[in-house]
Symmetry: C2
Subunit: 205 residues, 2 copies
């Protein structure tokens, strides 16, 4: 390492702090970047600088670059303002949005600590959703969907939030469980197959 230029060493340090990037991959990325040429470096440098102008939505906390304080989803008058979905991550929101099967709004709560104690900023986000429900839904939303992962961690997270939310919604739901489309019964794990049996739906006539 001592043989590398200072700027490259510093970049490797910064890249190593990135989530799920170790020191080896950080080195490889730095060498890759060096090889990309001036124009590509200038573009990337600019793109990163531009991120300064990205801000969280004042309602759901999804990042956006609008001049108004709201993201495109929260600003969309066609969205159902009486349904909220709590997700842990932006990436979960994007995956759910891509289905086009949900027309309500969101609240990005952030990754819930294993201790079960929300960070202060997470408590503020929850409070903020509650105050939106107060102001815009007369205190009771039609539904709050807890879109946590279908796992014991997700179950735990849901159990943490339900007491805080019970009075704020007519119903609190979670995403449906069962066999994933394209999956095979033979290879489904016991839990999944159990859910698929419990949640079986009637067909036809």
């Amino acid at each position: 390492m001592m043989k590398l230029p200072e700027s490259v060493k510093r970049l490797i340090d910064v890249l190593t702090e990135f989530p799920s990037i170790g020191p080896r991959q950080a080195r490889r990325l730095a060498f890759y970047l060096v090889g990309r040429g001036e124009n590509a470096l200038e573009e990337l440098s600019q793109l990163i600088r531009e991120l300064k102008h990205v801000k969280p939505c004042a309602a759901c906390f999804l990042i956006h670059q609008n001049t108004a304080p709201f993201c495109d989803i929260c600003a969309d008058p066609k969205r159902n303002r009486a349904i909220f979905m709590i997700v842990e991550k932006e990436t979960d929101l994007l995956s759910l949005e891509q289905t086009k099967h949900y027309q309500g709004r969101y609240c990005i709560i952030g990754p819930i600590p294993k201790t079960g104690i929300l960070e202060e900023w997470q408590k503020l986000r929850l409070k903020h959703m509650q105050s939106l429900i107060q102001k815009e839904c007369g205190g009771v939303a039609d539904e709050i969907v807890l879109a946590f992962n279908p796992s014991s961690v997700g179950d735990f997270n849901a159990s943490l939030l339900i007491p805080e939310l019970r009075t704020y919604a007519k119903k609190i739901t979670r995403l449906g469980r069962g066999l994933p489309t394209g999956g095979e019964i033979e290879f489904a794990d016991e839990e999944t197959l159990g859910s698929a049996l419990e949640k079986r739906s009637s067909e036809g006539g």
Copy 2:
């Protein structure tokens, strides 16, 4: 994706082109960066811009930022100028340098294509090393080490280069094979154990 700011989408596209980073990790990295705050973004943006001033060494092709055309290793008068080591990657060079067991010089040849046909720039690098041997070692180096991985791919790569190098060195060597330090005989694969037997060394009196 359509819901994200243009600059973030473009950044995700660029990050997806990075080696061993898929679209999912690219998204996560972009969100991570957004969360880092202005100062961190400015620093990273600057660091990436500075990479423009990094250039490959005129002798071994390791990147450096010296005003002279040579990297610190090639500029070091204490290095043995009659021994060359060919490595595929900068990261291999750095790992070997860290051992402090090698005092010769390097040539970074780049990843050798599976076809066995060197890229034009790789042929130039090889030619450049040969011309250094002509100029500085009277046409014959004391040794050329082929520091390729101890694998069938590495064997193949070595077999490609040996004919090109035979007249340029008194001897051509590869890195020693055997049991890795800290390894256990019981768990060593057959090839490794075979090498360890073949290359066994006498101890004591």
